[in-house]
């Protein structure tokens, strides 16, 4: 891509399992490959290596009919509700579209149920409105209703609240949270803000330059982050408490895609805990059966004594309770 036609590897060797009924969060900075990952999972981008398996079958082997079923079962909610809705379609038309694509009848009832589910009440008042007559939060609710109208089992959500006002953000988050439980949805939720991920998700994967560097159950990751990058992401979140003594992030700069040819740890150039061992790419290590991290701080064989550094779990503020 780009003028010099360089290939950028946006997502590299990512292994991730989304289990039924689980909300899984993906966090990382802008440019770490989160959205590319979603595009691949949704079948919008093709993969160069590896496989996406859905319900036990690789999507690469999907027939047209399989894709049709997949696209009914897996729905996406995009980041910007100001761009993701067609400005010329009413709420009813926008939500009817996926039903028409999948030739589903009794549309009227399904549309009303979907609108009811996203708490746009009274339903009749919203059905004939156009996007410009709605607030940002209402638009995002419509996008969610549009995704839910096909009764999917998987929802892929790309920063669905980052463009919204605080109060609206809280409303949408708490609504999503109850919908996940009520409809038994599996959710992949992508965000740079680990506090919203913490609120919504059961499990979290931290991504850096296209790789998952750590994954764990949410409370474990927030309480005892192992990877220095996970700690940085948590440390950077402002705390709504004037007495909290948060230290500012020690990270400087931004994820550097140009450094991808390196053979060492991709986070090495920004890592506060860098050691000579980081010249080699770390392999994932399981700290607990459900807690995996790719960092030399946790690998068994330090290459020289500076690499021996025992991280103290819970020394960061995430572990306060």
């Amino acid at each position: 891509m780009g003028r010099d036609r360089k290939t950028v590897t946006a997502v590299d060797d990512v292994s991730l399992a989304l289990r039924p009924g689980i909300a899984h969060g993906i966090v990382g900075e802008s440019g770490c490959g989160k959205s590319s990952l979603l595009d691949v999972l949704a079948g919008l981008e093709s993969v160069d290596g590896g496989a996406v398996t859905y319900d036990g079958r690789p999507t690469a082997e999907f027939s047209r009919r399989d894709w049709m079923a997949f696209r009914r079962d897996v729905q996406i909610v995009f980041q910007n509700p100001f761009e993701s809705l067609d400005p010329k379609l009413t709420v009813r038309e926008a939500i009817a579209e996926p039903l028409a694509v999948h030739s589903i009848d009794d549309r009227h009832e399904r549309i009303e149920t979907a609108v009811e589910r996203v708490e746009l009440r009274p339903v009749e008042r919203y059905l004939e409105k156009l996007p410009h007559q709605l607030s940002g939060g209402e638009r995002q609710r419509v996008s969610i209703a549009r995704a839910l109208v096909l009764e999917p089992s998987v929802l892929l959500a790309d920063e669905p609240v980052s463009m919204l006002d605080v109060s609206t953000q809280a409303n949408i988050l708490s609504m999503l949270s109850s919908l996940i439980d009520e409809l038994d949805l599996s959710v992949l939720y992508v965000s740079h803000d680990i506090s919203t991920v913490g609120y919504l998700c059961d499990e979290v994967s931290v991504m850096y330059l296209g790789e998952v560097v750590e994954s764990a159950p949410t409370n474990r990751l927030l309480g005892e982050p192992a990877h220095p990058y996970s700690r940085a992401l948590i440390d950077a979140v402002p705390i709504p408490d004037p007495y909290a003594e948060r230290e500012r992030t020690a990270l400087v700069g931004t994820p550097d895609g140009g450094g991808r040819d390196r053979t060492g740890c991709l986070f090495g150039d920004r890592c506060p805990d860098r050691t000579p061992a980081c010249e080699r790419r770390p392999e994932p290590v399981a700290l607990e059966p459900t807690h995996r991290v790719s960092c030399h701080l946790y690998t068994e064989e330090p290459t020289d004594e500076t690499a021996v550094r025992t991280p103290v779990p819970g020394e960061h503020h995430g572990g306060g309770r």
Partner: protein
């Protein structure tokens, strides 16, 4: 008593619109001191950006200051001619980082040329002086001074935002109005931007009016804050006093609406609806329609600022008819942390 850096005194701003006269800011008063970051908080439609534009003398054409005064070091800005305001105050004394400002850099001009243009409009500094100052400002916000000759597209979002702050610092203003300076950035870049802003404040004593919807940022960065709702000041005071005992139901709701990484399972406070647009002149509490404890009085009488009950600070004011009841109730349910 010394004169505050910035005084907003009983300010009312209205817009002429097709739907009638819209009251965007209504009888708002607060002060920003030198060497402090003061937070101005509210949702979209609360009037916070209007207030910023009124201070910098850049209201939209259909907007006007109806009553009240804005004073900068004791000088009433509201009675100055545009010419004098531009020559003596804008950028020189009061710099503005507008909302979405990383997109307000000129894509066709090198950053150093944009700096030169600002300096030549407002001062008679030589080009060499401007270049030197701009390089130092770049350094202060953690950018390599050599990169002043680059174009905006060569920078990432966070770097553009810092370049914008460097432009604001160029003429060494005493006050910076920063409107949502980090809203488009991810958390790590946001934290970096605030680190530089705070270092600059400590070094130069600049006063910053930080306008944001993000109360968690304000709780960390600011000493004092004001909460706006539909143009009315709901509450103003030191962040600790307001955090310990919010005296306005809106503030209380806002404080509970933020996810906290320390407690990911806590329920979020849900705030229904949006700040209403006031096109009938007001004369009532603008929060009444969203308030869980509103009474008939709230819908018919505009509340005036009152000293917050039992607050440790005499500058803690609330504008709520029912704040005594809220306070009594609040003491028993307050989150203990």
């Amino acid at each position: 008593m010394t004169t505050p850096l910035l005084e907003i005194d009983d300010l009312t701003v209205t817009y002429r619109t097709d739907a009638g006269e819209l009251t965007a800011v209504s009888d708002v008063s607060f002060c920003v001191e030198a060497n402090e970051i003061f937070g101005l908080v509210g949702e979209s439609g609360s009037g916070k950006s209007t207030l910023a534009k009124a201070i910098i003398g850049c209201l939209d054409r259909n907007g006007r200051i109806d009553s009240g005064e804005i004073r900068y070091c004791g000088t009433a800005l509201t009675s100055l001619s545009e010419e004098r305001f531009r020559r003596e105050f804008r950028w020189n004394e009061i710099a503005w980082i507008p909302q979405g400002s990383m997109n307000s850099l000129d894509p066709l001009e090198r950053l150093c040329d944009q700096a030169l243009e600002i300096a030549q409009t407002h001062t008679d500094h030589s080009a060499a002086t401007v270049d030197d100052r701009f390089r130092r400002a770049f350094d202060a916000v953690g950018l390599q001074p050599d990169r002043v000759t680059e174009y905006p597209h060569q920078f990432s979002g966070g770097m553009k935002q810092r370049a914008m702050i460097a432009l604001a610092l160029l003429l060494e203003p005493s006050l910076i109005i920063a409107d949502e300076p980090t809203t488009a950035l991810d958390v790590i870049m946001q934290d970096q931007v605030f680190r530089y802003l705070d270092e600059i404040r400590q070094r130069t004593g600049v006063g910053v009016l930080l306008i944001t919807h993000d109360l968690s940022v304000v709780m960390e960065e600011c000493a004092n804050l004001a909460v706006l709702h539909s143009g009315q000041l709901a509450e103003v005071g030191p962040v600790t006093a307001i955090y310990d005992a919010p005296h306005h139901p809106y503030t209380r709701k806002l404080l509970g609406a933020f996810p906290d990484v320390r407690d990911p399972d806590a329920e979020l406070e849900v705030l229904e609806g949006h700040p209403p647009k006031i096109t009938d002149g007001g004369g009532y509490c603008t929060f009444a329609t969203r308030c869980p404890i509103a009474t008939a009085e709230c819908e018919t009488v505009a509340p005036t600022p009152q000293q917050a009950l039992e607050s440790p600070s005499q500058y803690h004011l609330t504008t709520c008819h029912r704040s005594d009841r809220l306070f009594e109730h609040g003491r028993s349910v307050r989150r203990s942390r």
